[in-house]
Each structure stands twice: as structure tokens, then as C-alpha cells.
């Protein structure tokens, strides 16, 4: 008998292709989100993130490829299992907040009474009970964002899709939302987070995928991705001759960057091969130049993002030429 040794992902996109009249929005994109995790969906503007998110929400359909929710093909009924906070979000300006929240919850399949009870709890938790009978036009942007967040999660969705959830919040409220997101994950929800805020990706995301120009160019566990980018890379500051530095150790490493800080004073970044031992490399260097500092390179998600997108665009430009 076939035994599953891996957990079924809560969400899986397989070879999604979506084209509009004259451009490709998604080109064979596959991602997989394990249960109870926070998944960072990253990419520059216009990369195709929103297209993918709209396909998951069944606002549009892919040209080919399939979406699985808990191993099941995406169907209309899954709408009630998904909570979606779009980047372009708003509320009915003239409608009372309480009524509006109940209406949105009902559209997600909740009964009126259930919606009211649940909403009251959240309004108390966020200390906004007094807003129930106010209209949205009387609220500030940050206040409206809170309501939108509540209406996204009110029906306890198993899969939450949050597109730039922190935009429009002050640092205090952004933190409140961040904690709320992590609590939701700890309580069993799976979250897809699309954001340009790389700091928050490092902080709360377990997995990530980077989409650029409609293709997925990077993906995996956030820790592993970071590790792979800084693996065997070191920054060395030294005084001495560049030629003697280059000849100090013969083979087994390569220089990635070099910068002359002043005369006979350099900062270089090197990458060691698998076989090269760090200590041996260092020993060789110490005989040739005066080492001032020696550090392991740790790229931030922000640097990885910029590096990958730049490189990807460069290679594409070359191949296009």
C-alpha cells in the first residue's frame, strides 16, 4: 500500500499558466504551502502575484494548471474556507460598520446570528465596540483597515490570503496585526502573505516563493533560502597587496566582490568551494596579508530579493537580445 510520508499541503498550485490578451501573467508557476505555516509570496510589482491570488480566490480562472486545497481540486465550495484581504481594499462608505461586517460574513456562509456573536467578540478584542453603529466615512484609514482584517478572518478560514496586510497601519497596529497573524497560524490556519515588507517576511514567514516576470525564480523554507545565499561566503578586510592575496591560496575559492578602501587596504567577499576547509583557507591568508576582520556573510531577505530580481532581469534581457 502507498504510504504518504509527507503531509498534504493545505494549498498547492501546479503549473499555473494565465495569459491576458497580449501578455503572460503567470508562466508555469507551482507553489506548495504546508499546513499551519505562513507562506511569503514575494515579487516586484506586476510580477503576477495578484493574478495568482485572484486565481486562488476563483475571481479568475487559470488557462491551464490546477489548484488543490487540502489535496482536493479547487471548487466553488472552497470559498468559505478561504479568507482574502486584497491589496486594493475598501468598504461601503455609507453603510454602518456592524451591518456591513455581518453582510460580508454572511457572504462567506455564516448565519446572521453566528456572524453577530463572532464579530462582537472581535470588536471587543480590538477595543472598537463603539464603532458598531458608525459609518465607514467617519473612520480613519487605519480604523477601516482593522475592520477589513476582522471581516477577512471572521469565518475562521483554513486558508488566509493577505495582500499587503500591514500597509496603512501605524507601527503599533502593524504589530498588533502581526501578532494576530501568528496566533491564527498557531491555532491552525495556513496563511499566504504577499508583501513588499521583507522584514516581516524574515520575522514571520516559514516558507516563501519569489515570482518575477510571471515566473517563480526562488522558493523554499525562508531559513534555507537565506542559508543557501550565504553558504560558504565570507567578507574579509585586509591590508597588503591584492596580488599576494589572490595567490595566497591556490584554487578552491572564488572572489565575488572586491573594494579598495584605501591604498593597500581592501574589503573582499569570497565564496569557498565545498572541498575547501575554512581553516586551511585562513591559514594561507594569514601568511600573505594582514587580516583585519573576517565575517560570515548573511544576506537579508531584502538583499536576496533585490539580487535575484536584478539577476533574473539581466539574464532575461540578455536572452531577449
Amino acid at each position: 500500500m502507498f504510504v504518504m510520508n509527507e503531509v498534504t499541503p493545505v494549498f498547492e498550485a501546479r503549473n499555473i499558466v494565465k495569459t491576458y490578451a497580449n501578455h503572460i501573467a503567470l508562466d508555469n508557476v507551482s507553489i506548495s504551502v504546508p499546513p499551519q505555516s505562513i507562506f511569503g509570496l514575494l515579487g516586484p510589482n506586476g510580477a503576477g502575484k495578484t493574478s495568482l491570488i485572484r486565481i486562488i480566490n476563483q475571481i479568475t480562472a487559470p488557462d491551464s494548471g490546477e489548484i488543490l486545497i487540502n489535496g482536493e481540486k479547487l471548487k466553488r465550495k472552497h470559498i468559505e474556507d478561504i479568507g482574502y484581504l486584497p491589496e486594493e481594499r475598501g468598504l461601503y462608505k455609507k453603510m454602518k460598520i456592524g451591518e456591513q461586517a455581518i453582510y460580508l460574513a454572511q457572504l462567506k456562509g455564516m448565519s446572521r446570528n453566528e456572524a453577530r456573536t463572532e464579530l462582537k467578540k472581535w470588536f471587543i478584542k480590538f477595543e472598537i465596540e463603539s464603532w458598531w453603529n458608525k459609518k465607514v466615512e467617519d473612520l480613519s484609514k487605519g480604523m477601516a483597515q482593522k475592520i477589513q482584517f476582522i471581516t477577512t478572518i471572521i469565518h475562521r478560514p483554513k486558508l488566509l490570503i493577505l495582500d499587503e496586510p500591514f500597509s496603512g497601519f501605524d507601527p503599533i497596529n502593524a504589530n498588533l496585526i502581526k501578532n494576530e497573524i501568528m496566533e491564527l497560524r498557531d491555532n491552525g490556519a495556513t496563511i499566504i502573505l504577499s508583501t513588499h515588507n521583507m522584514e516581516s517576511v524574515e520575522e514571520i514567514c516559514d516558507d516563501m516563493a519569489l515570482i518575477n516576470k510571471s515566473k517563480k525564480i526562488l522558493g523554499g523554507k525562508v531559513k534555507e533560502v537565506k542559508e543557501s545565499f550565504s553558504k560558504n561566503q565570507y567578507k574579509i578586510e585586509f591590508k597588503g597587496n591584492m596580488v599576494s592575496f589572490a595567490n595566497a591560496v591556490w584554487g578552491g575559492w572564488e572572489m565575488i566582490e572586491k573594494e579598495e578602501l584605501s591604498k593597500n587596504h581592501f574589503m573582499v567577499q569570497v565564496k569557498l568551494n565545498e572541498k575547501m576547509e575554512l581553516n586551511n583557507f585562513l591559514k594561507g591568508l594569514l601568511d600573505a596579508v594582514e587580516v583585519i576582520s573576517f565575517n560570515k556573510v548573511a544576506l537579508s531577505m531584502n538583499e536576496i530579493f533585490i539580487k535575484m530580481v536584478k539577476e533574473n532581469s539581466d539574464t532575461q534581457n540578455v536572452s531577449e537580445k
Partner: protein, 434 residues
């Protein structure tokens, strides 16, 4: 409750509970009845008596004039020593004088001479016509004398032939004008309702799009459900308003009529001739009105209002989805409202020519039929039945088609921001799959 039911309910309740809706719904019939009552009051007010000063340069024309209860005619100068300026002077100084009638010498020489009527407050048409008739009769009599023709001979010469339009089947006299007016009223009402509520649909869609709530909603319901929910919800708002208007208008109307009856008709009772004369015309109108198949007409009104509204409502929803704000909607509104405007004009012109082929075709084409067919149905004609049926079928098929088309534009448009939309762009959206 199904999701589309929830949307319909929200669209309906959010509009019906608005203060402006309540105001319009209650004030509408009050204003309508108020205008009608006002018009009747104005008409009746002419009955106040007028003091009319006459300056007659011919001396003879005004001779047979006799003051009546309503028109107190006074000849200014019988001696021939005073001129028009003197007459004007005393007209100016004497506040009790309402009008000054000036008859120049030339008035008797030609067949179409003209006198002057100076006023302080503009005279009613009725007053002017009365005075014209008086002057004409007097001149005619003078000319008869001059030509040596007896009044008796003259009366025998003067003919007044009228033609009665009689339906050869029923043998009844029929007043096509009255029917055409009824038809026009119905046609214009559908036009107004379709236009009013169609615009509401468009505004609603623009509101959802510009407030950016639409993406949240279409992640819960299909865009098509949202569009249909809105269109149907607003249709019920229209039907509610219409029903309330009919009920309130008939209540206010009967109250107002009761008041008018007691005030004016008691006075009119004094002259039985007037009543006899009036009731002849009235009887004709009432007979004609009774001939109209009201049940059919009201049934048709609802059908064509709903059909026409669904057709135009869907198109307006598509426009709302395509643009970012109301000002941008103009370029798309014009071609869509043009047939509606055209049908409105056609109906007004139909009064003079109820059987023109243009009218026939416009009553079949679904973009004009909701307005035009109602007008034709009120006038009634041979073989209208099959025409009504084909027109209804065409309307149904067309609104299904426009709704389908609008759904495609709507689906793409509502999520599109900050892009200048052209007709080519819309065509592209229609062709998108999935």
C-alpha cells in the same frame, strides 16, 4: 438565504432606507397632485372679473359691446376728442383697470388687422380669445351691412363640418388623440423609470468599484451574481417606489379632487349650459378612456419596464464597471441612451401619426420597444397581438444577450483601475475566457 438573495436584500434595503428615497417616494405624488391642483386653480382663477377699458378709433366696432359679469367693458371716449395716449394715461392712473383694448381705424379695412391689448398683468388665453371673438363678430356684422348681406344668409354660408372617427367593427366613436396621450404617458413613464433606475445601477457599480470593496465581495460571490443581485435589488426599489406612488397619488388625488369639487363645481352649477357643453367633451374622453384595455396596458407596463430595465440596467452596469468615475462614463452613456431618447421622441411624434411604419419597427426593436410598444398598445390597432408577442420575445432574448455581454465586461472591468478604457478594450474583455 442564498448569496444572490443577500445581495438583493442589501441593495434593496440600503436604498429604501435612505432619507432621499423616502422623501422622493412621499413627495413625488404630493408634487404631482400639487401641480395638477395648481393647474386647475390657475385655470379657475380666470373667473375673477376684469375691468377692461376700450379705446376705439373706429367708434363703431365697440358699439355693440356689452359688459358681462366677468368682463366689465367700458368705452373710454365716445366724443372723439381724446387719443390713445390719453387712454393710456387714464389706464395707468386708474388702478381698478385691468386691461386696455385698443382698436385702430385700420382694423375694419383688412381681413386680418390687429388691435392691441395693453395689460398690467398678462391676460389669460381665454380672455384674449373672448375679446378677439367679440371684435371679430362686431366687424363681421359691420361688413355684412356694408355688403348688404343679411345675417340670416351669412349664418347659412358659414359651415362648421367635423369628422367623427368611428371604429367600423364596434361602431363606436373613438378619440385617437386621447388614446395617444395615454400611450405617451405610459411610454414616457417607462422611459423615465428605465433611465432613472438604470443610472442608479451604474452609480452603484461605480461606488463599489471606486471604494474598492468589490474585490472582497467577488472573492465570496461570482461577479455575475453581484451584478445581477444589484440589478434585481434596484429593480425592486423601482417597483416599490412605483407602487407607493400609485397608492399615494390616488389617495392624494381623491382628496384634492374632493376639495376642488366642493369649491368650484358648486359655482359652475349656476350655468347649466356650460355643464352641458363640457360634459359632451368629457363624455367623449371618458368613453375613449373606457375603451382602453387598462389591465393589458398595466400588465404590459410592468413587463416592458422590467424587460427594458434589465436590458439597459445590464448595459449601465457594464459601463459602471468599465470606468473609474461618473465623469468618464459619458462617452459610453451617449450611444446607449441614444435609442432610449429616440424612442421617447418617436412616442411624442406618434400622436399625429399612430400607424407609421417607424412606429411599428420601433415597437419591435428591443432597444426602443419598451417605450414605443406601450404607446401603441394604448392606441390599439388591428393585429397588435402578434406584434406584442414578437416584441416581447425579442426583448427577452435581447436582455439575456446584453446581460451575458455585460457580465463579461463587468467581470474584468470591476478590478481594473486607472486605465483609460476604449471600445476596443471592452471588446477585448468580452473575448477573455474564464
Amino acid at each position: 438565504m442564498s448569496k444572490i438573495g443577500l445581495i438583493i436584500k442589501r441593495e434593496y434595503l440600503s436604498r429604501v432606507s435612505k432619507k432621499s428615497f423616502l422623501l422622493m417616494t412621499v413627495l413625488g405624488p404630493i408634487l404631482m397632485v400639487g401641480f395638477m391642483v395648481g393647474a386647475i386653480f390657475l385655470g379657475k382663477q380666470e373667473d375673477k372679473s376684469l375691468n377692461i377699458l376700450i379705446h376705439d378709433d373706429t367708434y363703431v366696432v365697440s358699439k355693440p359691446f356689452k359688459p358681462t359679469e366677468q368682463f366689465n367693458l367700458m368705452v373710454f371716449d365716445t366724443t372723439g376728442t381724446k387719443n390713445l395716449d390719453d387712454a393710456k394715461e387714464s389706464f395707468k392712473n386708474d388702478e381698478s383697470l385691468d386691461l386696455l383694448l385698443y382698436l385702430p381705424e385700420t382694423i375694419v379695412e383688412m381681413n386680418n388687422g390687429s388691435g392691441h391689448l395693453y395689460f398690467k398683468e398678462a391676460p389669460s388665453t381665454k380672455t384674449r380669445m373672448y375679446l378677439e371673438r367679440l371684435v371679430n363678430e362686431s366687424i363681421e356684422k359691420l361688413k355684412l351691412k356694408e355688403l348688404n348681406v343679411s345675417l340670416d344668409t351669412y349664418m347659412r354660408l358659414k359651415n362648421k363640418v367635423s369628422l367623427k372617427a368611428i371604429d367600423y367593427k364596434s361602431g363606436k366613436e373613438s378619440n385617437v388623440k386621447v388614446k395617444a396621450f395615454v400611450g405617451m404617458a405610459f411610454g414616457v413613464s417607462t422611459f423615465m423609470f428605465i433611465f432613472m433606475y438604470g443610472t442608479l445601477v451604474m452609480k452603484g457599480v461605480i461606488e463599489e468599484k471606486s471604494s474598492r470593496i468589490v474585490e472582497v465581495i467577488v472573492s465570496s460571490v461570482k461577479p455575475f451574481e453581484l451584478m445581477m443581485g444589484k440589478i434585481i435589488g434596484i429593480m425592486f426599489v423601482g417597483l416599490t417606489q412605483f407602487a407607493v406612488w400609485i397608492i399615494l397619488s390616488s389617495i392624494f388625488g381623491s382628496i384634492a379632487m374632493g376639495m376642488i369639487d366642493s369649491e368650484f363645481y358648486s359655482a359652475a352649477n349656476q350655468s347649466p349650459e356650460v355643464i352641458a357643453g363640457m360634459s359632451n367633451v368629457q363624455a367623449n374622453i371618458i368613453n375613449t378612456l373606457l375603451e382602453i384595455n387598462w389591465v393589458l396596458l398595466i400588465g404590459l407596463f410592468f413587463f416592458y419596464f422590467i424587460g427594458g430595465y434589465l436590458l439597459y440596467g445590464a448595459l449601465m452596469a457594464a459601463i459602471g464597471a468599465a470606468v473609474d468615475n461618473e465623469t468618464d462614463s459619458q462617452q459610453f452613456m451617449v450611444p446607449i441612451t441614444a435609442p432610449l431618447m429616440f424612442s421617447y421622441l418617436i412616442v411624442i411624434l406618434s400622436i399625429d401619426n399612430p400607424n407609421s411604419p417607424v412606429l411599428f419597427w420601433c415597437s419591435q426593436i428591443p432597444f426602443t420597444s419598451p417605450v414605443v410598444m406601450l404607446a401603441r398598445a394604448a392606441m390599439g390597432s388591428e393585429g397588435l397581438w402578434w406584434q406584442i408577442i414578437t416584441s416581447m420575445l425579442l426583448l427577452i432574448v435581447t436582455f439575456i444577450a446584453t446581460t451575458w455581454l455585460a457580465g463579461k465586461i463587468y467581470r474584468t472591468g470591476i478590478l481594473m483601475h486607472g486605465k483609460k478604457i476604449t471600445w476596443q478594450e471592452l471588446w477585448k474583455w468580452i473575448k477573455y475566457k474564464g
